[in-house]
Symmetry: C2
């Protein structure tokens, strides 16, 4: 059976999916990245591909996703600092030596490609993803094309400013969306009472008034970020992914109330806000999608 | 001589340019829009085209630019409220009856296309324009393509929020970039002392300390908006256009100081900030450029 392999390299685990051209998942695997003390992942990934191909036959194409900024030629991650810095400049096409190009994508970009293929944004040509976790990331699809930008940085939507006088975040943006809603600041935002958004939302559900105020404040900031994104890139749908999105309706219901007040709706049209569907497999599926499009000659 | 006609319809005046495929301007004309009491502009524009073609021969193509949101099929402005509402839904291809399609563009989108063709962003594939005037508008070019979005709204960069607790602007965005730097709020921002940014900047130049504080505050907000845009769409160059950009170095010098602090610069790369070059003719030139690309079969 004809299939594509998508490999998603994270700091802790590698996820791999074998998927057909009509998005039927044949295999899902997960194994440790093992970057430290010496990077074991290059060998682990080649071994995994060999094992899968032994079982399923040769893959039509292989795509890879990793954190960091992907190079314009999609040959490597051109820029990655801190954890997994070993991935920077690593040439997957050379390493895998398949006699075919192996495109490399940024993780949030890949997740949106996956969702726009067979997930919550299936069929949408204008879509945005926000990954709400420890930090806040994102990706933008406009007129069917993933925005990469000059350095592969496009879609870093956690780093838009919502407070000119706010503290700088990790890339120096004052009062960023990431600082306003990411798990990285939940302790600070709640006066030390909560260490995760999950705990905060549980307290909200139990009727804790202080927790409710902190949560609604974060949601208001998220809504302001979302209307900024809507006015800047005009999507049809915005997907919420990442750990914080597991709050589900506890997140969506108050967010919709804010958007009813804040969103510009020409023609009465409002942007759909949805939870992402593919969960932790979105990146690997998106990598497979990119590799498939590459083989078909898409730019 | 082979040339293209670009027509830029504003609320007060219509600007028309006849330009060759290598960006040589053959003619520039300006005449009143005359929308009130009854729209005289449809007839004025056809008359103008007839007069130009009598002199220069038939134009290879004609493109039009107008305020509002352009329809996805580029046949008309699909959404325009208030002044010039008469332009909404007006079908230029039918009206001009040239036996060829006449593409219609939003004004800020056209201005960026013009600048990216033969202006301050010539040759750039990833560029952003900010028009700083009474209001603040914009446009985004990503990987050589103009972002339109689902409703043609992409690039409304004046309507990104920089203050979650701020007052709503005309499209409900709280504490927007437009409110922070547009001429529409200069009186409010200066405690009633100035009615235009020009007056404010003159006072800054003369050493007025209060004016300086107001101006630097506005520039700080502009810098925060610019880093948000940089992190979201990752351009190579950002062009500043509109009346406020006439402040030139009085704007650019303090803006660069802020950006040195606030901009995320992977690889040490910084985004060029430049003044737009084509001035009031940018829209008409961009309309001609779009019509030329259309004739060449570009999507």
């Amino acid at each position: 059976m004809s299939y594509i392999l998508g490999i998603d390299m994270g700091g802790t685990n590698i996820k791999a999916v074998a998927i057909t051209a009509d998005a039927q998942v044949l295999r899902q695997d997960q194994f440790e990245t093992a970057d430290d003390p010496a990077p074991a992942w290059p060998r682990r990934i080649s071994d995994h591909i060999r094992a899968v191909e032994k079982e399923l036959g040769r893959a039509v194409a292989v795509g890879v996703v990793a954190p960091g900024l992907a190079a314009r030629d999609e040959r490597s991650i051109a820029w990655m600092q801190g954890r997994l810095a070993s991935v920077q400049g690593f040439d997957w096409t050379a390493h895998l030596a398949r006699g075919q190009f192996v495109p490399v994508l940024n993780d949030a970009h890949a997740a949106l490609l996956g969702e726009a293929w067979c997930g919550a944004a299936a069929g949408a040509r204008d879509a945005v993803m926000l990954t709400l976790g420890t930090g806040v990331g994102g990706a933008i699809l406009c007129d069917g094309r993933l925005l990469r930008g000059r350095l592969g940085r496009a879609g870093h939507l956690g780093h838009i400013s919502l407070d000119v006088d706010g503290k700088p975040d990790i890339v120096n943006t004052p009062g960023s969306l990431e600082l306003a809603v990411g798990d990285c600041t939940v302790s600070e935002r709640s006066g030390g009472r909560f260490t995760s958004t999950e705990g905060l939302v549980s307290a909200v559900v139990e009727g804790d008034e202080v927790a409710r105020r902190v949560w609604l404040r974060s949601i208001r900031a998220l809504a302001c970020g979302i209307v900024s994104i809507i006015n800047a890139v005009d999507p049809q749908v915005i997907l919420l992914a990442g750990g914080i999105s597991r709050a589900g309706e506890h997140l969506l219901a108050p967010l919709r109330v804010e958007l009813d007040r804040l969103e510009w709706r020409p023609f009465g049209t409002c942007v759909r806000i949805e939870l992402a569907k593919l969960g932790q497999w979105a990146g690997a599926i998106g990598a497979a999608r990119r590799a498939m499009l590459w083989e078909q000659g898409a730019s």
